[in-house]
């Protein structure tokens, strides 16, 4: 699914990253726990979150995520927005709740991230 389609389905405002709207995303993750994001997402996943601090953007960079959608109409802090520009990570804001936004994307074919992206701890 293209980011432009994500934006349309969620009625989202593009905060930054117009040049990335053609970017494809295959999986998504809804989370407010950044270590969970790193544990459970794959490279190129979309992140939906209610957190708006710069560490969300940093986590997206470290995890190689394709874009961030802030839920419940939140907009990122100026520091977070500046970091997103620097790290080239597109940002959106949707009026939907995390639950609704995830449901809409899931119903439209966006896949969840596999249970464990890395090795199992039991290995």
């Amino acid at each position: 699914m293209k980011l432009s389609e994500v934006q349309r389905l969620l009625g989202a405002t593009l905060i930054w990253g117009e040049h990335c709207l053609e970017r494809e995303v295959a999986t998504a993750c809804g989370a407010d726990l950044m270590s969970d994001v790193l544990a459970f997402t794959k490279d190129g996943a979309l992140l939906l979150t209610g957190l708006i601090n710069p560490q969300v953007v940093r986590t997206a960079d470290v995890g190689g995520l394709s874009a961030i959608v802030f839920v419940r109409g939140k907009t990122p802090s100026p520091e977070a927005a500046a970091m997103a520009r620097e790290l080239d990570i597109p940002l959106f804001s949707t009026p939907h709740t995390l639950f609704q936004a995830c449901g809409i994307l899931y119903a439209n074919g966006l896949a969840p991230c596999p249970p464990l992206a890395g090795k199992s701890l039991e290995e």
């Binding site: 726990l33 950044m34 270590s35 790193l38 544990a39 560490q55 969300v56 940093r58 986590t59 470290v62």
Partner: protein, 158 residues
């Protein structure tokens, strides 16, 4: 390699030495400096990508660095991270002079956390840091004792 060196020079990262084809970088980690938390990990990721490491592996290296970096910033009174990038592997060594971990085995369990509320509000302290490092690295070693700080070594092969 040249591009990687250019990045390192631009960032003024301390380069310990250039061992053959490997790069040795050092990053200081400051207690509660959240403005720059994760910056070292982003830089490590860019350097290894410039050196031709694939995206999935660079992500694993970066996750190891990030979780260790945040632990040092949150729990310890700062510390340092040494990163050695070789043609076939990257080694990360994180040392701090913090309070140490009384029960390392418990701390390795998913969900075990001693992070305060203000850290949880930032989206951290879910008790996934050490398990994430272990999961992302090919080799993981930790040594810690109360009052003696914590030492972590990780190795990621390409």
């Amino acid at each position: 390699m040249q591009m990687a060196w250019r990045l390192v020079r631009r960032w003024q990262v301390r380069v310990l030495k250039n061992e053959g084809t490997g790069l040795l970088l050092e990053f200081p980690l400051e207690h509660y400096r959240f403005e720059t938390a994760g910056e070292a990990s982003s830089k490590v990721k860019q350097v290894v990508r410039q050196l031709g490491v694939d995206a999935q592996t660079a992500r694993r290296i970066s996750v190891c660095a990030y979780e260790a970096e945040l632990n040092a910033i949150i729990h310890a009174f700062g510390g340092r991270m040494k990163v050695r990038v070789f043609p076939d592997r990257t080694e990360l060594e994180v040392t701090d002079e913090g309070p140490g971990i009384p029960d390392v085995e418990a701390a390795m369990r998913e969900g075990f956390s001693t992070a305060p509320d203000n850290i949880r509000e930032l989206g951290f302290g879910a008790g996934m840091g050490l398990p994430n490092m272990k999961r992302s690295a090919d080799e993981f070693e930790i040594k810690s004792a109360p009052g003696a700080g914590t030492w972590i070594r990780m190795l990621v092969r390409y």
